[in-house]
């Protein structure tokens, strides 16, 4: 396990960023089933890490498979919740906002009015949505969007009102929809005296986290449905308490804010702790070693010298570090540079030190092979050399090539002094003799070998080849 002191700034950013993501997940999905499932997946993940640590191969594979499948299941099961999160028009709320849920809802007015309705035997169905989006569940509603008041509730549920049938949806302090048709529950355990209104209330709460208040027209009873359950509530105070709990307003506002801050602080701390543990679990393989073959770059070569030969062209670099860091490294992230400043002509031996090897952060040099590199440098000189054609292929057996003349016949080349000492001729690229059938002028490109040789600027890299032929048996001129 790497000591914490060796944490890179990237690691800190890594941990904090993912911790914030986790924290946002909590804030966004708080109170929904999604969060519970996510906690279960997190538990599975840690279980899998433990299985790996203990060497339980099959267990870790199985848990990994379940975790992967769970991610897919979440998307399928919680499509509605996920969609409601991403459909939010306030991006700030999604990324960094923290809301105090519907604290403005005038629950006391609702409570007063529903008990008045009960006395008057006026039926009513009031939906107070939770975190989940209910739009995909309800049908045929009429857009209302009016501020909730005693008078408005009485107007809507008046028997003569054209919109008194169906439910209303209360969002914050506004009635957003009226005449809402809800799915009916098919639960056989519901009492037989429950009419359509009650079955509709249960039907909605079976599939969402909404709270539905029902006022029975026949019996004059106020009931509350949540989580697929329906309970009669005889006291107004109890109904207020149920609504406050549903809206997350269990304490006075200041106290609630304080509690929420403490809760979020704890969640933030737990997020950081969890991600730190996960990070450490990932980076446990600090003894991971990876080997790369990296080309050696030669820098600061004195301008009058040229590299003629090197004992190696690449070095084998063994690096050690956390497995995720090493997995992210590509060979191009590593460079091996030899500083040739101050070099003189001839053979020199250089040592590949830590300073000559540049590694990405988080990786440590373990070994380098070879440790020594021989570099043969030579003074650059100019030499005029004759050019000769490098013929290949087959010449027509009946032909004799009596004359070959090149233009230019000589070229000026740059190259290492010692290299050029052993070179007396510059050859062309291979020219097929098969193409020679009569007197002709061909073109051939100059082939410089070794590649360190260069033509002096201004020289053409091609030569014209004048060929004169004679048939066998013809008199030689």
């Amino acid at each position: 396990m790497p000591p914490l002191i060796s944490l890179r700034w990237q690691d800190v950013v890594d941990i904090l960023f993912v911790s914030y993501l986790l924290f946002r997940f909590y804030v966004i999905f708080k109170g929904t089933h999604v969060l519970r499932v996510l906690v279960a997946i997190a538990f599975l993940f840690f279980l899998q890490r433990i299985a790996i640590l203990l060497g339980l191969v099959i267990t870790s594979w199985t848990i990994q498979g379940i975790t992967a499948a769970s991610a897919l299941i979440i998307i399928v099961l919680f499509t509605r919740e996920i969609r409601s999160v991403f459909q939010t028009k306030n991006l700030g709320l999604l990324l960094w906002g923290i809301t105090f849920r519907q604290k403005e809802t005038p629950y006391d007015i609702i409570a007063d009015v529903v008990y008045e309705f009960a006395k008057e035997r006026t039926g009513a169905l009031i939906i107070i949505p939770g975190k989940e989006d209910i739009r995909g569940v309800v049908q045929r509603s009429i857009r209302w969007d009016g501020r909730l008041s005693r008078e408005m509730l009485q107007t809507i549920f008046d028997k003569n009102s054209p919109v008194h049938d169906g439910a209303i949806i209360v969002q914050g302090d506004r009635i957003t929809e009226v005449s809402v048709i809800l799915p009916l529950s098919t639960n056989p355990s519901l009492p037989s005296y429950f009419g359509t209104r009650h079955r509709a209330a249960v039907g909605l709460t079976e599939v969402t986290d909404a709270l539905v208040i029902v006022v029975s027209e026949e019996r004059g009873v106020v009931s509350v449905s949540k989580g697929g359950e329906i309970t009669p509530v005889s006291q107004k105070e109890l109904l207020i308490q149920i609504m406050r709990r549903h809206l997350g307003i269990l304490a006075p506002e200041k106290e609630a804010t304080k509690r929420l801050r403490i809760e979020l602080g704890l969640v933030a701390l737990v997020s950081v702790l969890l991600i730190t543990v996960a990070w450490m679990s990932f980076t446990k393989g600090y003894d991971t070693i990876i080997s790369y073959s990296v080309p050696i770059e030669y820098t600061n070569r004195p301008p009058h010298l040229e590299i003629i030969e090197t004992s190696v062209s690449s070095a084998k670099i063994e690096i050690v570090g956390p497995a995720p860091v090493l997995k992210a490294i590509k060979p191009e992230h590593i460079s091996v540079r030899l500083d040739l400043s101050g070099s003189v002509a001839g053979k020199s031996v250089y040592t590949l030190t830590k300073e000559s090897i540049q590694l990405p952060p988080g990786a440590t040099l373990s070994k380098v092979v070879p440790q020594f590199v021989e570099v043969y440098l030579d003074e650059i000189v100019e030499k005029i050399l004759p050019v000769q054609v490098d013929w290949v292929g087959t010449l027509d057996k009946e032909l004799l090539v009596t004359h070959v003349e090149l233009d230019p016949s000589r070229v000026r080349v740059f190259g290492g002094k010692r290299t050029l000492e052993g070179i007396e001729t510059i050859y062309t690229e291979k020219l097929p003799a098969d193409t020679v059938t009569s007197d002709a002028t061909l073109t051939a490109r100059i082939a410089l070998y070794p590649p360190s040789l260069r033509l002096v600027p201004g020289q053409k890299d091609k030569v014209a080849v004048l060929v004169k032929v004679q048939r066998r048996g013809e008199k030689t001129s």
């Binding site: 004759p386 054609v389 490098d390 013929w391 290949v392 292929g393 004799l400 009596t402 070959v404 020679v436």
Partner: protein, 137 residues
């Protein structure tokens, strides 16, 4: 005056003719000059037959044929055979006033394909000429 210039011009052309078939590089201090030099597929009775610059490896043997002028005293010349700048063989050849043709030969094999040159050199190392040719399939 114009007549003299014409004579000098013609003399220049005449003297430069032998150098058209090979690279004339230097003159000998002893006065010996190279009159003719060729790579031949065959030499018979001191005559070059089938001079060629692209020779098939199937020929088996090739010749470097050189003829000298102004050979007043016995002398030594060398034929140095190079395959791609690598000296393969040096032939030491005697020339004298009565026999002023120097011929060397070389067996060619499959691996000898590629560009060749033969340097014709005197005892002092002065290069009379360089003959270039290729051995192909």
């Amino acid at each position: 005056m114009l007549h003299i210039l014409n004579i000098l011009f013609l003399a220049g052309i005449f003297l430069s003719v032998p150098c058209l078939s090979f690279e004339c590089l230097a003159e000998d201090k002893t006065g010996i000059t190279l009159a003719k030099a060729q790579i031949c597929e065959e030499v018979k009775q001191s005559e070059c037959l089938f001079p060629n610059k692209i020779i098939s490896s199937s020929k088996g043997k090739i010749y470097c044929y050189s003829v000298f002028d102004s050979v007043n005293n016995p002398s030594i010349v060398y034929h140095r055979w190079y395959h791609r700048d690598e000296l393969v063989v040096t032939h030491t050849l005697k020339i004298k006033p009565s026999y002023y043709v120097a011929t060397s030969s070389m067996q060619i094999r499959e691996k000898d394909k590629g560009p060749w040159r033969v340097e014709i050199v005197n005892e002092d190392g002065t290069i009379y000429a360089v003959l270039r040719f290729s051995i192909v399939d």
